[in-house]
Amino acid sequence: MFKKILVANRGEIAVRVIKGCREMGIGAVAVYSEADRDSLHVWLADEAVAIGPPPAVESYLNMGRIIAAARASGAEAIHPGYGFLAENAEFAALCEKEGLVFIGPNSAAMELVGDKVRARRTMEKAGIPIIPGMPAVAKTVADCEAAAKSLGYPVIVKASAGGGGKGMRVVHEAGELAPAVEAGMREAKSAFGDDSVYLEKYLEEPRHVEVQVLADNFGRTVHLFERECSIQRRHQKIVEETPSTALTPALRAKMGETAVKAIQAAGYNNAGTVEFLLDRDGRFYFLEVNARLQVEHPVTEMTTGVDLVRQQILIAAGEPLSLRQEDLRQRGHAIECRIYAEDPRHNFLPSAGKVVVLREPKGPGVRCDSGIYGGWEVPVHYDPILAKLIAWAEDRELACRRLTAALDDYVILGIRTTIGFLREVVNHPEFRAGRTTTAFIKKHFDGWGGGEVHDDTRRLALAAAAFDELMRAGRPREGAARGSQKDVATPWTTLGRWRIGGAGLDGI
């Protein structure tokens, strides 16, 4: 087993992997850009190496610096997390060449599945159903125009190296195509360093159902059932759950077998996810293989009891898979919400800044995978994911209730987050009824503003602010109040002269 692993990522996933290493008695090395000097993953790791300026291309995407950091720290393996270099076959190959173990699939399989266009061809040959689309990457906008015409609108622009919704654009008519392709290329370039895009027919209102797979280096492959990730915004998953309400045991078994077949057709090893779109008639189509640990992996962990990060590390270390398909079971129901630094009341604008107060929920069946702490400044340079909240319970209804209560208990002040929005999503009657499709957010939450604030709520907030002033008045004067001393009209200053015993309220 490895003695030391370098975690080539940041945020909640770096924290997750570092904790996994600790549990296995493996030393964890963090890397960080100048913008992340004070980030949680840096402080949790046993060692940390600076790898460059804030832009990801100069730090978290800089292969040379990451390899050098592994060398300098004496790490034997690199865990890439998700995003950044996680699905970069060149990086996986570079690790292989440098004698470092890349904790993920072999570079040849990654190259195959990472090239969405080649992957589609491979799957088609293996007899796996695929969505109609361009057989090759678009060279010009004119290529796209011709392809879109023959596929019929709507079509979707996808980054060939893509993932996480980056570079994706749905196009409903010919006039929107050129700007969408250009924007897709730009986003793909900045997210993956590769601007290749292609078109697929856009299926309306499908469900997004994916299957988790583990494959060891000796050809043994198991699947760990599905995750449904239909609740998406701008093609980014925001709520994920397992089991899916749309699968019958027979369909589940068939999709599981198909996923195993897809993984084997690609010569893939380590943890991977086979994504499918499922239409209303229970027909499913291969979408892509995600050659990495998924953001939503915790829901699988909570229902199967299998620690996927640990499995990834064991497989990478050359251990044979000890899990047998017939022993794997789904137990209960788990739902995950992604907590983003975005303002849902203002068109989901990113919200960087200081986390002034943080309270993370806990309790039976509640898991919070977080990359932040109170007092930390969220940098502007990276993906806005802050944390993930996962609730597990005996059944779906109980899991929804538990998740709602946990969201109520989740406090992040100072920056805007999606917590309040997610609470409403999970409470929506259509979600509760299990009628989830990729059109759910657009259909039920377009232009969401959260409703009017009740006078009662506003009064409670004002009362709390007043009480807070009273409390502070009982304490020695603080620096913050000093600035407005000559301003006699406001309580910020007049309170300074009050003498109340301790933190009590006897002076009123």
Binding site: P350, V357, R359, R459, A465, F467
Partner: protein, 168 residues
């Protein structure tokens, strides 16, 4: 005790008095009578009418941030905001309209040139933050008077990007 807070550009006055072991908060037309307990730093419990409600209060520089009933309220000192309110009222849909960055990010595209006529909601620029592209739209119909940034520039929130002169 009387307290004044600026909330959503409006000055709110809250009075607090003690009555039979509870506190009475009066604001505007209504009032709230509750027993209040500070259970940890930033965390208050309001118990009234057989219900316990948890409220969080944080101080960030000169702002106070309160989380109550699932909603976030940002309260400021009345003085600081008074000027801002006047400015806002005085800002009609005419004259020069500065288009500001809604969040910190990087200007990745300018969609218009100086002197160009623009419609309301026309895209003026694209600012990327946290790896997502965000379109900056014109709030008015008019003419681009001045472009204040260059492509590739990092901008802070509220930084003026482009000046649009509204059509008279």
């Amino acid at each position: 005790m009387e307290f004044k807070f600026l909330l959503d550009d409006e000055v709110r006055t809250v009075t607090v008095e003690r009555k039979d072991g509870a506190l009475v908060f009066r604001e505007g037309e209504g009032s709230l009578t509750a027993e209040v307990r500070s259970v940890s730093e930033n965390e208050l419990l309001f118990v009234s009418g057989g219900r316990s409600r948890r409220v969080f209060v944080a101080r960030d520089g000169k702002r106070k941030i309160v989380l109550a009933g699932g909603r976030e309220f940002v309260l400021a000192e009345p003085d600081r905001g008074a000027g801002r309110r006047e400015r806002r009222e005085g800002k009609a849909r005419e004259g020069v309209w500065p288009v500001k960055a809604p969040m910190p990010g990087k200007v990745i595209k300018l969609c218009v040139a100086e002197g160009e006529a623009v419609r309301e909601n026309q895209a003026l620029a694209i600012v990327e933050a946290m790896k997502m592209e965000n379109m900056i739209l014109s709030e008015v119909e008019g003419v681009v008077k001045k472009i204040l940034v260059t492509v590739g520039e990092l901008v802070d929130a509220e930084r003026p990007l482009i000046e649009v002169e509204a059509k008279a």
